[in-house]
């Protein structure tokens, strides 16, 4: 005896939001193209990828943390530290083959340390990662308060290696970003760890009662965020060939913005790394338009903040509506 149970029509944040994000990107790109003839070109698009690849990597890392319902505001300083420390080591003659794995390891371990304290001692993520930010920034300044140039050959090669076609250039590090994106997509969709990340973000208590390794997962996502930040730092140093302790200030908001615009819920459990990537591209388009318009580059930050605010408000409104529907389902007295 089979029953047909129709699922109620519900606003699926998951499916619609990726569509909205992509439409937003196409929309903004068209606005730019309409205003400037030179805008609509393959090279503009490729430059978005070139300029944005470090942010893509870092944003993907922070997406993991956001998916579990946490937050990491130390990533900008991890990136800065990676650049400064790499530049410092390279200048003293340490080969790139040692420097790069070392800084990646540092990023990973630092993230894991913060994750451990957050999980084991129930400290609030914002204060731990805020302290982490100042710790890393401080270390940067201890190493050097001035910009250190990078003259290492490997780095220079990385900075110049590119694929040229049809008048556009794609640099090698874009492929690093692509690799990270593909790895992240696979992890989130096809590994138990990835699915646990979503479960923890959806309902941590349920995940625990279902027997999932919640604590381990929470520590790991912070480690991933730290690793991605370090990798983003490596790419950024390819891009700028320098390390400066005051670089990337406020960049964590760009990363969080990209994730939110890309459909990640700050409360956790919902979001995709492909959406985050499109979110990064959207920020890139805004920046490009601002440059074309000869406006103060700070306008980019303002627009980005405004978009973030808008998306958060919309997310909150939708969440509020579905919560009300859940109320009608039944409020039950809890037994003592």
């Amino acid at each position: 005896m089979s029953e047909q149970v129709k699922s109620q029509k519900k606003f699926h944040i998951k499916n619609i939001s990726l569509l909205v994000t992509s439409l937003l990107f196409i929309g903004l790109f068209s606005v730019g193209a309409a205003a400037y003839p030179k805008f609509l070109s393959l090279s503009t698009f490729c430059n978005l990828l070139n300029d944005g690849s470090y942010l893509i990597i870092a944003s993907i890392g922070i997406t993991f943390v956001l998916l579990t319902g946490g937050i990491d505001i130390s990533i900008s300083s991890t990136i800065a530290f990676t650049c400064v420390f790499s530049a410092f080591l390279l200048r003293t003659g340490v080969p790139a083959g040692v420097v790069i794995p070392l800084v990646l390891l540092i990023g990973l371990l630092f993230g894991a340390l913060m994750g451990f304290m957050i999980n084991a001692y129930r400290l609030q993520p914002f204060i731990v990662t805020l302290a982490g930010q100042f710790f890393m920034r401080g270390l940067c300044a201890v190493i050097s308060t001035e910009s250190i140039p990078i003259t290492d050959d490997f780095y220079k090669k990385m900075a110049l290696t590119k694929l040229s076609f049809l008048g556009a250039k794609i640099y090698f590090y874009v492929f690093i970003a692509a690799a990270v994106l593909i790895a992240a997509m696979f992890t989130l969709k096809f590994t138990r760890f990835g699915r646990t990340v979503y479960a923890v973000g959806g309902n941590e208590q349920s995940a625990s009662l279902m027997g999932l390794p919640v604590g381990r997962t929470k520590v790991t996502v912070y480690a991933i965020s730290g690793f991605c930040a370090a990798l983003a730092g490596v790419v950024f140093s390819f891009y700028t060939l320098a390390g400066y302790s005051l670089q990337n200030v406020g960049m964590e908001m760009d990363a969080i913005s990209s994730a939110v615009i890309g459909g990640t819920l700050l409360t956790g459990g919902v979001g995709t790394v492909i959406g985050t990537t499109v979110g990064v591209m959207i920020q890139g388009v805004i920046q490009t338009i601002v440059t074309y318009q000869n406006l103060n580059t700070w306008w980019t930050k303002v627009f980005s903040a405004a978009l973030l605010c808008l998306f958060i408000v919309i997310q909150r409104m939708l969440a509020g509506r579905s919560e009300k529907r859940k109320d009608i389902r039944g409020k039950v007295e809890k037994a003592a």
Binding site: L130, L139, S245, M253, N296, K301, V302
Partner: protein, 346 residues
């Protein structure tokens, strides 16, 4: 002895003791020169005076941050609000905006503080009405704020030549630096409002147990809104002091990274970062401790950058001491007792 015991019950007791201890250590190391106070032109000069003057910005931020932390929230936009306030004030004094105000310093100050109030109210709105978590809500302004400041100054670094404006930072009254009086005035206002109205009670209640406070009839949302607005106002005043000090508006560097200092000052002062009981005088002592450490480090020739690292470690240590789980685990490790089965909190 009795009196000291009574005093020690105040939250601000130990921070004050630590502050005095740091001063004494400094004095000993410097062979007494630390305490030298010269009088030139009826103005007091000296290391101690420097601490008071330079610490005034942090004391103002700490006052505002105390209230915000007492609700269990946080405000990391204070640095950017300082930048906005400096931008507004300098642009008015410069005549760049609102020329109708006649470059009046009073108008500049008023509008700068108003700007801070608006910023704070915006944060409060996001936190209490839209119910965004405070770290994210204030992060929005933290990043957009410097951009807004840049837009006000049209991207340029504005410098002003007004002596009246400079007085805010460099002036003296009764031989003491003017910023000190600003702080005294602002803190007196804050403490008055806290004690003479029910605000202090409502704030503590909200921080300790928002649900029970709601059941008792307290408007929890209004309390939260007020604290963020006040924090914005304090940040604006601090921004004025800083901008007056450099006689201009530096949107990129004004108040940079001061948010952690403010949070740290409040934490050192003994207010829990999870919310609840608070004490403004204790936070002031905390601010002075930080300021005196910074000054001593500078005087000793140690790289000032290392203070960031030290501050980060201190914040984490304070958090650990406030964490119930940490205390449990330390107790288990350091006391030899039979393996009791502890009840897991579900």
């Amino acid at each position: 002895m009795e009196k000291i015991k009574k005093l020690s019950k105040y939250q601000g007791f130990w921070p004050t003791v630590i502050f005095i201890a740091i001063l004494l250590i400094n004095g000993i190391i410097s062979g007494g020169t630390f305490f030298d106070i010269k009088i030139v032109d009826a103005h007091l000069y000296g290391r101690l005076i420097d601490i008071l003057r330079n610490g005034s910005k942090l004391m103002l931020l700490a006052t505002g941050m105390t209230f915000v932390l007492a609700t269990g929230g946080t405000d990391i936009s204070v640095g950017s609000v300082m930048a906005i306030s400096g931008a507004i004030a300098c642009s008015i004094v410069d005549g760049r905006i609102l020329p109708g105000a006649g470059q009046s310093v009073q108008a500049a100050i008023l509008l700068a503080i108003l700007g801070g109030v608006v910023c704070g109210a915006w944060n409060g709105f996001l936190v209490s009405k839209v119910k965004i978590q405070p770290i994210v809500a204030t992060m929005i302004l933290m990043v957009a704020g410097r951009g807004i400041a840049q837009l006000i100054t049209d991207g340029k670094i504005v410098t002003v030549n007004s002596d009246a404006y400079y007085f805010i930072n460099g002036g003296y009254i009764l031989g003491l630096p003017f910023p000190l009086f600003i702080v005294l005035f602002a803190v007196a206002l804050a403490i008055l409002f806290t004690k003479k109205t029910a605000f202090g009670l409502f704030l503590e209640s909200t921080g300790c147990n928002p649900v029970a406070s709601h059941f008792a009839g307290i408007n929890v949302n209004r309390v939260k809104w007020l604290v963020y607005t006040f924090c914005g106002a304090m940040a604006a005043v601090a921004g004025l002091i800083e901008s007056a000090g450099i006689k201009g508006a530096d949107c990129n560097n004004a108040g940079l990274f001061m948010e952690l200092d403010a949070i740290l000052a409040v934490a050192i002062g003994g207010t829990s970062l999870n919310g609840g009981r608070f004490s403004v005088p204790a936070s002031l002592a905390g601010a002075l401790i930080i300021q005196s450490i910074t000054t001593s480090v500078y005087a000793m020739g140690v790289a000032p950058e290392i203070t960031s690292v030290v501050k980060a470690v201190i914040v984490i240590c304070i958090c650990l001491f406030q964490s119930v789980e940490f205390k449990e685990k330390m107790r288990k490790r350091f006391s030899a007792h039979k393996p009791e089965r502890m009840a897991k909190t579900a």
